[in-house]
């Protein structure tokens, strides 16, 4: 709860700074503030409590995921300063929106009431619509914003419908009550339908097949930093929320749909992985490629839902590994494509010579995503595989394995470009923050890889 209040306060503070003309200080102060909030959040780790009539429930799950979101936001905000240096008057708005978005994200993982959940997801979505379209003179950005908005509000409608049906069945929005009642046998069919619709809405947010179509277009069109946000923070938030929702609704014990539901997850998981990976193979735009890669990772993360009662830790781990490597990758992409009008792979030619450190970071990030040890991505996959096999879904794991193989194909396309092509231009100066963010996030990733227990065991 304190986290949420503090974050909102920080967002308002950002807006105030603009008025007070503290423009230069916004990014540092926000980062410091977020660090403080991170401390606050972590301190709540062992103090599960619910606030305000169960509106906000602070649990281990919520604090841990909130911390992850805060870390990601810190990194994203750090990147913002240089990214928006051409938009000095708007930087406060951007930062504020990001901070509010974080508030929405935190609300989404710590909601105790579907109202909070809905508002959280809407704050997140609306912020993203704005951020996607924020480069308003750019047609692509406009188009991305529009597409995202149209499809996003459509999905919101579906989520809302789902919530409505759940309410119809339960007469309450309180998660704890719903959770209790969901175990009883005499439930109107509205309840499972409602869950399904909410799930579908969330699947849209995490860009699972067949609700993934928006992702590549929006990722490609949005400003790169927004893409970074979407592909890391937002995806992870949506996934965590979906996990929390489904586990709260006792989806695994619902006698009406559990088996069928699991089947659906299996199919969607496999489909997402496959479509994502195969489509990524022939992309020339790096952001678009990462969008498809993100779709496939969504498929991987869906595997966590197959053993929902035990997989919180592994989901957290996967999410951290994926998002950290994503941020590292995007830091490099931002650096490389800073003054270019597109993000095509050719821009990465010869990076290995021009800037070996950045190239190494990007390589490590991609290797982590591909699931090569010793990076965290490997353990993430391994733990998920372990749990999924334990749950008896060997098919999914085999599909996942085949997909991991395919994925190497496009991750290595980028690596190949960096190391085996001649650079087409002279070395550009790298802003310090890009280095810092890239290195910090990849180091975090590697540390996670070396000490997976540190994160895996947080959620039992």
């Amino acid at each position: 709860m304190n986290t949420l209040i503090a974050i909102t306060g920080l967002g308002v503070l950002c807006l105030l700074f603009e008025i007070l003309n503290f423009r230069k200080a916004i990014v540092p102060i926000t980062i410091i503030g977020l660090l403080a909030i991170l401390g606050l959040t972590v301190s709540e780790f062992n103090l599960p409590e619910s606030y305000y009539n169960n509106m906000i429930v602070v649990s281990k799950f919520s604090t841990v995921f909130s911390s992850l979101f805060i870390v990601l936001t810190i990194l994203l905000v750090a990147l913002a300063h240089d990214f928006y240096e051409d938009h000095p008057t708007k930087i406060s708005d951007f930062i504020a929106i990001k901070v509010f978005m974080l508030a929405g994200a935190v609300a989404m993982v710590s909601f105790g009431n579907l109202a909070m959940f809905f508002l959280g997801i809407e704050i997140l979505s609306i912020s993203l619509y704005v951020l996607a379209a924020s480069n308003r003179m750019n047609l692509k950005s406009n188009e991305a914003g529009m597409k995202y908005f149209l499809m996003g509000s459509f999905a919101s409608g579906i989520i809302l419908f789902g919530i409505c049906l759940i309410y119809g069945a339960m007469g309450s929005f309180d998660i704890a009550e719903i959770s209790d009642w969901s175990r009883s046998a005499e439930l109107p069919i509205w309840f499972p339908i409602g869950i399904s619709l909410v799930t579908i809405g969330m699947l849209f947010k995490i860009a699972a097949v067949p609700f993934h179509f928006w992702a590549p277009d929006v990722y490609e069109g949005s400003p790169a930093l927004t893409t970074a946000t979407m592909s890391t923070l937002v995806k992870v938030v949506a996934m965590a929320t979906l996990y929390k929702l489904l586990s709260a609704m006792n989806i695994d014990t619902n006698e009406y749909i559990s088996t069928a539901f699991i089947n659906i997850i299996v199919v969607l998981s496999i489909a997402s992985m496959t479509v994502g990976n195969i489509m990524a193979l022939k992309q020339t735009n790096v952001k678009r490629m990462l969008a498809f890669s993100g779709i496939s990772h969504a498929g991987f993360m869906l595997m966590a839902l197959l053993s929902i009662s035990t997989s919180a830790g592994s989901l957290l781990y996967y999410a951290s590994a994926y998002s950290l490597s994503g941020i590292a990758a995007f830091a490099v992409i931002l650096y490389v494509c800073k003054n270019k009008d597109n993000e095509n792979i050719e821009n990465f030619n010869g990076l290995g010579k021009n800037n070996p450190l950045m190239a190494a970071v990007l390589t490590a990030a991609l290797l982590s995503m591909a699931g090569i040890p010793i990076f965290a991505g490997f353990f993430a996959k391994m733990v998920l595989f372990n749990q999924t096999i334990e749950a008896g879904h060997l098919v999914v794991v085999i599909a996942a394995v085949i997909n991991s193989i395919i994925s190497v194909g496009y991750y290595f396309k980028l690596i190949l470009a960096m190391y085996s092509k001649e650079p087409n231009e002279a070395v550009a100066k790298t802003p310090f923050v890009f280095y810092a963010v890239a290195v910090v996030s990849i180091l975090l990733n590697i540390v996670l890889g070396l000490f997976p227990s540190a994160v895996l065991d947080l959620l039992g």
Partner: protein, 623 residues
């Protein structure tokens, strides 16, 4: 004492090898020759000492465990018994002579140090082969001499034909070696040891013998022997091996290495005695080889080729004897053959040396005046090989034929024909080379001279041995048989009492030889026929001249198909396999390309997919 003696015996040539390899170039040509020769002479001396002081009991020297197999160990050890000492005697003895000969023969070659290095290495490996205490030790030497043979055949490596010949020799040998190895495997698994002495004990005492496997082992080992001793079907390398310097032909391809097969069979006589069926095969192969090689030798014009085929033929005779279990007879012929064949080769070397490399007999003639010593020694050797009484060859060959006569008349006939042919082609060689007038160029004629004494001395020594060599095993009173007796598990065949049959056989053999010589005399001396040019050869002689087209047949049956297969694998299979793997990638890429069309940027389509997805999920879940 024994151990160190054995080691000195073994390592002396090896030290010579090392010296020649590392210091040879600096040391100068004469030093190289002397060191090379001395190292072998040292071995010879030790062998003589051992020969003189050897008791009845074999000496075994085990150095250390070499290869460990689950059920037995193979020791790195040496065995000195009558057989190995006997073999060592003529290996190091003839080896010394040929080294001596080479000093002069190879004097003009700039790589004389490597030549001596290889020769020394060869002796080293030959000693290993002979002294090895088990099959694998023998195999070291076995492959080692093959290697040296390869190196020496291809000594003039700038000529790729020579290199081809060397390669061919090595590979043909290796085919045999595979057989040898298989034999070793079977023996090992049957008896859990590869050690000769233990094998002998086990085999002679064992009761329930698995006949089939013993026969297979014997057969496999015999294939090994075929490779090394140039028997059908693996004999084609030996004539080609004449590409090497002549001393090499004398040492390796006539006197020593090619007899390794006979050595091995004799060494394992107890095993072969258990496999009569294989013995039959050996006898038949030997006889056929003797005949086929002799027929080919009839029409060859290259002086060394004639000798080479003669060697194959003689080896065939030895195998004929082995096939009948008459090991000591075969050994006897090995020894006499070593003398006269070495003498013949060295003589031919002397001729070639005199003619500056000319080997075609059609371009020789009338050399007996300019090269009298060469002529006389070669004549003696030829008489010996032709089996004229009382030269060494007469006794040994006669014994073989006598054994054959007692076992199988057909094979005796074949053997006899082969030996008549031997007489013919040897004297064809003598007449064409030494009689009549010189047919070479004026240039050559001008330079004709007798070879220096370093060449003639070994010739003379060998001629003497060719003459008197027979005394070691005279019918009725055979020193050799007695000497070798401890080796053989059973008295394989009783001493031939010299009855009428025996005398009649001797007479037939001698008459046959004289007939052969007579025909040659008629044709080449009296009629002064000169073999026609290659292109003009027709009919049967053409087939013979082209060695029954066996090389061509092998080429067509084995070499070409393998090469074609290789090209096929390389160009078709490899690319297909590769394409298959890449194909998976291509297919995925193609799917991706099609998928790109689906993601066509239309919000409408995206929403369609969305809604259809919703419908599908809800339908599946609730309907």
């Amino acid at each position: 004492m024994d151990t160190s003696l054995v080691l000195v015996l073994l390592l002396a040539p090896f030290l010579g090898f090392l010296f020649n390899v590392f210091l040879g170039k600096k040391a100068g040509k004469s030093v190289v020759g002397i060191v090379g020769t001395l190292s072998v002479v040292v071995s010879f001396a030790i062998t003589l000492y051992l020969f003189g002081n050897a008791g009845k009991e074999p000496v075994v020297v085990n150095l250390f465990d070499w290869i460990t197999i689950e059920r037995f160990n193979v020791k790195f050890g040496f065995l000195l018994d009558q057989l190995s000492i006997l073999w060592l005697l003529f290996v190091t003895g003839i080896g010394s002579l040929i080294h001596l000969y080479s000093i002069s023969y190879m004097h003009d070659d700039e790589k004389i140090h490597s030549f001596f290095a290889y020769l020394n290495l060869f002796i080293f490996f030959m000693i290993t082969l002979v002294m090895g205490s088990n099959l694998l030790m023998m195999f070291i030497g076995w492959e080692g001499v093959g290697l040296c043979s390869y190196l020496l055949i291809g000594f003039w490596y700038k000529n790729q034909d020579f290199n081809d010949a060397a390669k061919k020799a090595f590979i043909m040998n290796r085919i045999g070696d595979l057989g040898f190895l298989i034999g070793i495997f079977i023996v090992g698994s049957l008896f859990n040891t590869l050690d000769f002495t233990s094998l002998k004990t086990i085999i002679t005492t064992i009761d329930d013998i698995n006949d089939l496997w013993i026969a297979l082992a014997a057969l496999a080992l015999f294939i090994g022997a075929c490779g090394k001793s140039a028997q059908i079907p693996l004999y084609t390398w030996l004539p080609d091996a004449m590409a090497g310097p002549t001393p090499v032909s004398a040492l390796i391809h006539a006197a020593t290495m090619v007899t390794a097969g006979i050595f091995m069979l004799t060494r394992l006589n107890f095993l072969f005695d258990m496999a009569p069926s294989v013995q039959n095969i050996i006898a038949i192969v030997g006889a056929v080889t003797a005949l086929v090689a002799a027929t080919i030798a009839l029409v060859q014009n290259d002086i060394k080729k004639v000798l080479a085929y003669s060697t194959v033929s003689q080896l065939g005779l030895m195998f004929l004897a082995l096939g009948f279990g008459a090991y000591e007879v075969a050994v006897f012929h090995v020894i006499t053959h070593a003398f006269f064949k070495a003498c013949l080769f060295l003589g031919s070397g002397s001729v070639i040396h005199g003619l500056h490399g000319e080997q075609d007999m059609r371009k020789m003639g009338g050399l007996k005046k300019t090269m009298p010593i060469t002529f006389i020694t070669m004549l003696i050797a030829s008489l010996a090989i032709a089996g004229i009484f009382p030269l060494a060859g007469f006794w040994s060959k006669d014994e073989i034929l006598m054994t054959a006569f007692h076992h199988n008349i057909v094979l005796w006939v074949i053997g006899s024909i082969a030996s008549i042919m031997t007489a013919f082609y040897m004297f064809r060689l003598i007449y064409l080379t030494f009689f009549n007038s010189f047919r070479g160029t004026e240039e050559q004629k001008h330079h004709l001279h007798e070879s220096p004494s370093l060449i003639t001395v070994p010739l003379i020594i060998l001629a003497i041995f060719s003459f008197f060599g027979g005394i070691i095993s005279l019918p009725g009173h055979s020193w050799l048989n007695e000497y070798l007796a401890p080796l053989f598990s059973k008295v394989s065949h009783e001493e031939h009492t010299l009855g009428t049959t025996e005398y009649a056989l001797m007479a037939i053999a001698t008459i046959g030889a004289i007939i052969g010589i007579g025909i040659a005399y008629k044709k080449y001396l009296k009629d002064n026929t000169i073999p026609s040019e290659d292109a003009e050869i027709t009919g049967l002689s053409k087939v013979l001249y082209n060695k029954y087209y066996v090389d061509e047949a092998y080429d067509a049956i084995f070499v070409k198909p393998v090469n074609v297969l290789s090209s096929f694998f390389r160009d078709a299979v490899e690319t297909t396999l590769s394409a298959l793997v890449f194909g998976l990638g291509k297919v995925t890429n193609e799917i991706a390309l099609q998928g790109k069309k689906v993601h066509n940027g239309s919000v409408g389509l995206y929403l369609f997919a969305f809604v259809l997805g919703v419908c599908a999920i809800l339908t599946y879940l609730f309907l």
